[in-house]
Symmetry: C2
Subunit: 170 residues, 2 copies
Amino acid sequence: MTGHATTQSQPTTSYEAAAAQREARFLEALQAAGLRLTAQRRAICHYLARTDAHPTAQQIYEALKPQFPSLSLTTVYNTLDVLVRLGLVYALGGAGDRAVHYETNTEPHINLACLVCHRVIDLPMPEVGAWRSRVAEASGFKILGARLVYYGVCPECQRQNPADDNPPSE
Amino acid sequence: MTGHATTQSQPTTSYEAAAAQREARFLEALQAAGLRLTAQRRAICHYLARTDAHPTAQQIYEALKPQFPSLSLTTVYNTLDVLVRLGLVYALGGAGDRAVHYETNTEPHINLACLVCHRVIDLPMPEVGAWRSRVAEASGFKILGARLVYYGVCPECQRQNPADDNPPSE
DNA sequence: CTCCAAACTTGGAATGATTCTAAAGTATTT
DNA sequence: AAATACTTTAGAATCATTCCAAGTTTGGAG
C-alpha cells in the first residue's frame, strides 16, 4: 500500500495525481494511528490534499459546508489537530489576521505572508532541511516543527498601493 | 546623539549599559517619528530594553501595573503596535499559547519556542541576514520582517516529561 | 501665562478565533 | 442485539485583541 496510486481511476492531470497520492497518504496515516476514517475526516483530507492556499479552519469549514451540511466547525478543528499531531499538516500564524493557517507542504520551504491581503505563499528552499538538525544540536530542543515566515507586501498589493509604507502589523 | 551612551550615569554592568543604550534608541526613534514621549511609553520602552524574555502584552501590563496603577492594557497594545511599525520590536506568535510575544532582539537569529512551558529563547544565526535579500529577490515581496521559529520541547521540559510524545500543538 | 487643537490614555464593551462540554450518533466487539 | 469505545455536534465559554467614546495631557500660538 506504499506504492504509487496508479491503480485508481486514471488521473486527468499530474496535479490531480499528486493530490490523490497526498490524500491517500493522509488517510493511511490516520488509519495507522488507529483512528477511524469517518466521512468528515475524508472530506477534510480531500480538501487539504488539493489546495496550495493556506486555509484557516473557518475557510475549510465554509468550503465543505455546502456538500456536507451537518459538518461542525469543532470537527474541523479536531481533525486539523489530529493531522498536526501526526505531522501531516503544519499550523502557522501571523499572516496579519488573527487566525491560524494550515498547510500540507512538508517539503523544506519558507512561507511568505502578505500583511495586506493575508495570503500566504510557499518559496522552496532546500537548505531549510539542513537547518533543523543544526538547531536541534545547538539548542538541545526536541524539534517538532518549524515556521519560517517572512512577512511583507506581495507584488500585487505593492502595485495596488505603492505609497502605503505602513501596512498593518500582526 | 549616535555615539556611545557614556555620558549618562555610570552603568553598573555592561548588561545595564547595553540596556540603557537600547532604551535610548527606542526613545529617539519615537521622537524622530514625531511621537510624544509620554510616561507610559517610557515605562514600556524601559521594560522592553531590559528583558530577553519574549513577553506578551499581558505580561508587560502586569509587570508595569504596580508602579503605574493607571496604566491600561490598551495603552500597552497601542505602544507595542507603534514600536512594531517602527521596526524596533518584532511580534511573534505560536508559542503554544494563543498570545503574541514581542521581542527586541533585532540581530539575525531564530526563535525556539517550547510548546510545553511556552517560553521562547533566541538562537543567534548570522546567516539569517543573508536570507532576507534572497527571499525578496526570489519572490518580489517587500519584506518587512521575518519570524523564524522552530518549535518543540526545551531541554528542561524533556527532562520533566520524558515519555510525553504528544505535546500540545499551536 | 492662557487657551486650543492634536495627540494620548483610559475603562469598558465588542469581536472573533479557538476550546470546552454534555448529549447524541456510529462503528466494533462480544 | 448489547456493550464499549470513538466521533460528531451545537452551543456555551474563554480569552487575546480591538474598538469606542470620553477624559487628559501636551506643545505651541497668541
